[in-house]
């Protein structure tokens, strides 16, 4: 019973560390990006300053804002918080992973998106409607691809529990599965779309016609905006950690000893930093694509994920 308690306590701590570190990843991303583009970047701590500034601001709401508009930031943040509790971050055995498997994780993202889109429509301006409409289109195409990736993984690992699945990959060792290569590529493309990054969306823009996610939350300010910003930083981090867990989980702690935990922290930090650099290179060499090119991009991701699943059924069916 005691070891159970420790595991739960550690899972809670890990979640806190996860959401606390999310703005840092965003800061690091921003800094590397500025460096890459020969600009003088802000400090990596800048997102924390932004968040605290937003929290301190007095609230301003549009005339037409209803209770739904006010409740949405909390629902979005709650969904992301729940999603963060189930992802193995520093240690692989998280008992909280039993609360929600990877399909429920996709459900949490859908919940957050549903309410964000509604909040976009609440004020009654064209921007909100535009953002909501486009975001729902993109997500409708991204979700099947994501689920196919998830299916491939869980058919291999015989589980949809993220903790057990990661453990399985860890145990299996360095085994090159063709299905995983395709699935990983598909997952990366979906992650780019879902986390509102270039080439699907541009998080830095404030030009109305190029925005998806930003258009929906245009009317938010103060602590509401802080929660939403923080939630999207957590979402980016969740996708990054998912990619790490699926593809390169080695280094993650599989016991609660100080040494293993320290190694786990160092490993995940290094991997996240590296992944951020890859993302920066990707965002720097690519331009944002037209909205109606996005279906092709996501269609490609879906085909890759179908290929991954078929490869699994055909080639790896035996194990």
């Amino acid at each position: 019973m005691d070891s159970q308690l420790i595991a739960w306590a550690f899972a809670a701590l890990q979640t806190l560390a996860f959401i606390a570190a999310a703005p840092l990843l965003a800061g690091w991303l921003q800094r590397v990006k500025c460096h890459m583009q020969n600009r003088a970047g802000p400090s990596v701590w800048q997102p924390y300053r932004d968040l605290s500034k937003l929290v301190g601001k007095k609230m301003v709401l549009a005339h037409n804002a209803s209770w739904l508009f006010r409740a949405t930031p909390y629902i979005v943040f709650g969904a992301m918080l729940l999603a963060a509790t189930v992802v193995p971050f520093i240690v692989v055995q998280v008992p909280t992973a039993a609360i929600a498997d990877v399909i429920v994780l996709v459900g949490f993202f859908a919940l957050a998106r549903f309410f964000t889109a509604l909040a976009g429509l609440d004020i009654g301006t064209a921007f909100g409607g535009m953002g909501a409409s486009r975001e729902m289109m993109v997500s409708a195409l991204a979700e099947p691809a994501m689920l196919m990736v998830v299916f491939t993984l869980s058919m291999t690992a015989h589980t949809t529990n993220l903790s057990v699945a990661t453990d399985y990959i860890l145990e299996a060792g360095l085994l090159l599965r063709p299905s995983f290569v395709f699935a990983l590529l598909a997952l990366a493309m979906v992650a780019v779309a879902e986390a509102s990054r270039i080439p699907v969306d541009n998080p830095a823009t404030h030009l109305e016609l190029t925005m998806l996610h930003e258009a929906m939350i245009l009317e938010y300010g103060g602590r509401h905006l802080a929660l939403i910003e923080w939630a999207s930083q957590i979402k980016l981090m969740i996708y990054s950690v998912l990619i790490i867990d699926f593809a390169f989980p080695w280094g993650i702690a599989d016991q609660f000893s100080v040494r293993a935990l320290a190694l786990g922290v160092v490993a995940v930090t290094a991997k996240l930093m590296l992944l951020a650099v890859v993302l920066v290179v990707w965002e720097t060499v690519l331009a944002k694509m037209r909205l109606f090119r996005v279906p092709q991009f996501l269609g490609f991701a879906f085909m890759l994920s179908v290929l991954a699943m078929l490869t699994h059924v055909m080639l790896e069916g035996a194990n």
């Binding site: 498997d101 399909i103 289109m137 058919m155 909205l291």
Partner: protein, 678 residues
């Protein structure tokens, strides 16, 4: 006195009959007989159905009875068992909600521009419900078909209730036509079973030994017949026409309960009466189910009439239920009993869930209709300010139907996904790759459904009012809110305590496939673990608690002690003068999806621009219209209709209009029959 659940059902049937009888008195000057008398009896009827169903299911009781009525050699057999108990619970709940909702809603028909005679509404509502109650306890094909027809025919009169509009009459005719085609095919299916069983009772059919070919024919007839009633693609065309034009509380019963009777029939005939399912049947059901769900939601996205949109979503959800049933048949047919049970539970759970949230949404749409008389989403807007409670309940329905945690729609879709993931257990490589692909399409369906309900809720309830009538709308009356509140509460409860629900459902699968799902509830009420705790788990109570926790912490650390928010104008790019007409419309909202999936619909887009004459032409007026048509209508039904008309023309020459000719025909026919008989 009340010894078994059947007695409760008799009481329910009696109350339904009384409800119909009382409404006869509800002539123009005494509408209260309908508003209070009729609906009061319906309330008792719903409560008794619910109680009977709960008794049969919880106590795992099977009770049979027979009446010597009608033809001397054909007694009527009735029986209540856990399966009919489950569907009686579903029906009883909806009847309860409708009986709370109805008294206020039907006032609409007692006065004002939409005045209608009230007695037919009460009588046919009672007959409609009586039909469903009767067919659920039927234990022979005769009783089943009698009540099935009663339900279908009463439904026709309810669809055509507001018969002044030609569109309603057309819709009702289409409904009647397809209901009868379906009933004929069901009759054929019973015919096959009765021929092998040597009698019309279900007991005889159960023990009948069918050859695989005849079993397949029986299955095909049952699937097509009951599928027509459920609205599966491509036999769905009547549904989006008929459901929206009925009064809203009837739409709720139709989409919530009537189309579920098709599912009941399928489960009863295929799993209970035929028994030995073959996996090839499951494949057909899975493919039709997947097609229904994807096409249903894509067509729903193009609708801007709120009730029509909801009707198309019924097709989608029937598709999801069929996917569950199909997978159950595949697994059972390949000898995986536990996984088959899982699929069956997923399908039945979704049946119950869909009944609840679809009825809730139709009642919500009815409340909007009652207060604003607006059918079209593009005439609504901002109702969350005017009708806050209705908006809240409608939102619950939207979240539930979009399969978002922690509501009930998510649980059953999650179970369907989990069933699909177990396809690795199958030996057949084709099945192993088809099932996950179908599941990916289910994911697409879920995401599109979420898009559609963002549209429905967002355009109707959020933003600013688009018409004056909507701007001045008031909250719906208490009774109507009560009906919706009951359903909304159940949507939440069924979402948060899935393990308990599955435990209660155990006798059904025990009866049908002689297996239960002990693993699902092995970890207690907090955890849902369909296969095992290692494979997958979900804990809805945790999710609910976590969301409340975030609200609590947010209040404590962020909101408490801060100044109230200042209200100001929204961002308008500095131009000023935002009007409600600048908001996104429902057509605009779904435009990206229309473009991505073009080809699924036949889209007719017209832009009429009127330019002023002169050397520098300026556009003076601009009119845009877009219509989407159903391909299945153009490809299947229009050719069949033409064929029938052409055939009728050919045969027309024997219609001379002369009485002597007709007498000759009768005489010849009689002679031919006598010759055949002798």
């Amino acid at each position: 006195m009340i010894e078994n659940p059947l007695f409760l059902i008799y009481i329910a049937v009696l109350c339904t009959l009384l409800s119909g009888a009382v409404s006869v008195l509800a002539v123009q000057r005494h509408p209260d007989y309908l508003h209070f008398g009729s609906f009061l009896f319906l309330f008792f009827s719903g409560a008794a159905s619910f109680a009977a169903g709960a008794w049969a299911l919880l106590a795992n009781r099977t009770v049979t009875d027979r009446f010597d009525m009608g033809l001397p050699w054909l007694a009527w057999h009735v029986r209540i068992d856990p399966l009919s108990g489950f569907f009686l619970i579903l029906l009883g709940t909806l009847v309860l909600a409708v009986s709370l909702y109805g008294p206020s809603y039907t006032r609409e028909f007692g006065r004002g521009p939409s005045t209608q005679p009230l007695p037919p509404l009460g009588i046919f509502t009672a007959l409609f419900i009586l039909g469903m109650q009767g067919l659920l306890i039927a234990d022979d094909a005769l009783v089943f078909m009698i009540f099935w027809e009663m339900m279908s025919l009463a439904g026709y009169f309810l669809v055509v209730y507001q018969h002044q509009h030609a569109a309603n009459r057309d819709a009702a005719f289409l409904y009647l036509l397809l209901a009868h085609v379906g009933a004929l095919v069901i009759l054929l299916s019973f015919g096959v079973l009765a021929a092998f069983g040597g009698g019309l009772t279900f007991e005889q059919m159960r023990v009948a030994k069918l050859s695989p070919l005849w079993a397949t024919i029986g299955f095909a007839c049952a699937f097509i017949g009951f599928g027509t009633k459920s609205g599966m693609v491509p036999l769905h065309v009547w549904l989006p026409e008929a459901h929206p034009v009925a009064p809203s509380h009837i739409s709720a019963l139709m989409s919530g309960a009537m189309i579920k009777m098709g599912i009941y029939g399928m489960v009863r005939v295929i799993f209970d009466l035929i028994g030995d399912v073959q996996w090839e049947w499951g494949m057909v059901v899975l493919i039709i189910g997947t097609a229904s769900s994807v096409l249903g939601v894509l067509y729903a996205l193009m609708q801007h009439d709120l009730k029509r949109l909801l009707a198309y979503h019924s097709i989608e959800n029937i598709g999801i239920i069929l996917m569950g049933l199909g997978m159950a048949m595949i697994f059972l047919g390949s000898g995986h009993k536990l996984l088959g049970t899982l699929g069956l539970i997923a399908a039945l759970y979704h049946t119950l869930n869909h009944a609840l949230f679809k009825a809730l949404l139709f009642l919500g749409a009815g409340s909007v209709l009652y207060r604003t008389h607006a059918h079209d989403l593009d005439h609504m807007g901002g109702l969350i300010h005017r009708m806050p409670v209705t908006a809240f309940f409608f939102l619950v329905g939207c979240v539930a139907i979009s399969a978002l945690p922690p509501f009930n729609g998510f649980v059953s879709e999650w179970l369907t996904f989990q069933t699909a993931l177990q396809s690795t257990a199958l030996e057949n490589g084709l099945l192993r790759s088809t099932i996950p692909f179908a599941a990916a399409l289910l994911a697409l369906t879920g995401a599109l459904a979420a898009a559609c309900f963002v549209k429905a809720f967002g355009i109707a309830f959020l933003g600013k009012a688009r018409t004056r009538r909507v701007e001045l709308a008031r909250e719906a009356p208490v009774g109507m809110l009560g009906g919706m509140g009951l359903l909304a509460l159940l949507c939440l409860l069924l979402g948060v305590f899935p393990s308990t629900v599955i435990q209660i459902m155990a006798p059904i699968t025990q009866m049908l496939v002689h297996a239960a799902l002990p693993s699902a509830t092995a970890q207690g009420w907090l955890w849902l673990t369909p296969v095992s705790a290692q494979v997958a788990s979900y804990s809805a109570p945790f999710v609910l608690v976590a969301i409340f926790l975030v609200f609590g912490l947010g209040y404590l650390f962020l909101k408490r002690g801060t100044d109230p928010a200042r209200r100001t104008e929204p961002w308008d790019c500095g131009f000023g003068g935002l009007t409600p007409r600048m908001q996104y419309t429902s057509t605009a909202f779904s435009q990206p999806i229309r473009r991505v999936f073009q080809g699924v619909w036949k889209v007719e887009e017209h832009i009429d621009a009127l330019a002023s004459p002169g050397p520098l032409a300026r556009v003076t007026s601009l009119h845009y219209s877009v219509h989407t048509h159903d391909w299945s209508w153009l490809w299947c039904y229009v050719p069949i209709g033409r064929l029938v008309l052409a055939a009728a023309n050919r045969i027309g020459f024997i219609q001379t209009g002369n009485i002597h000719t007709y007498l000759k025909f009768s005489f010849v026919t009689l002679l031919v029959f006598l010759w055949i008989v002798s």
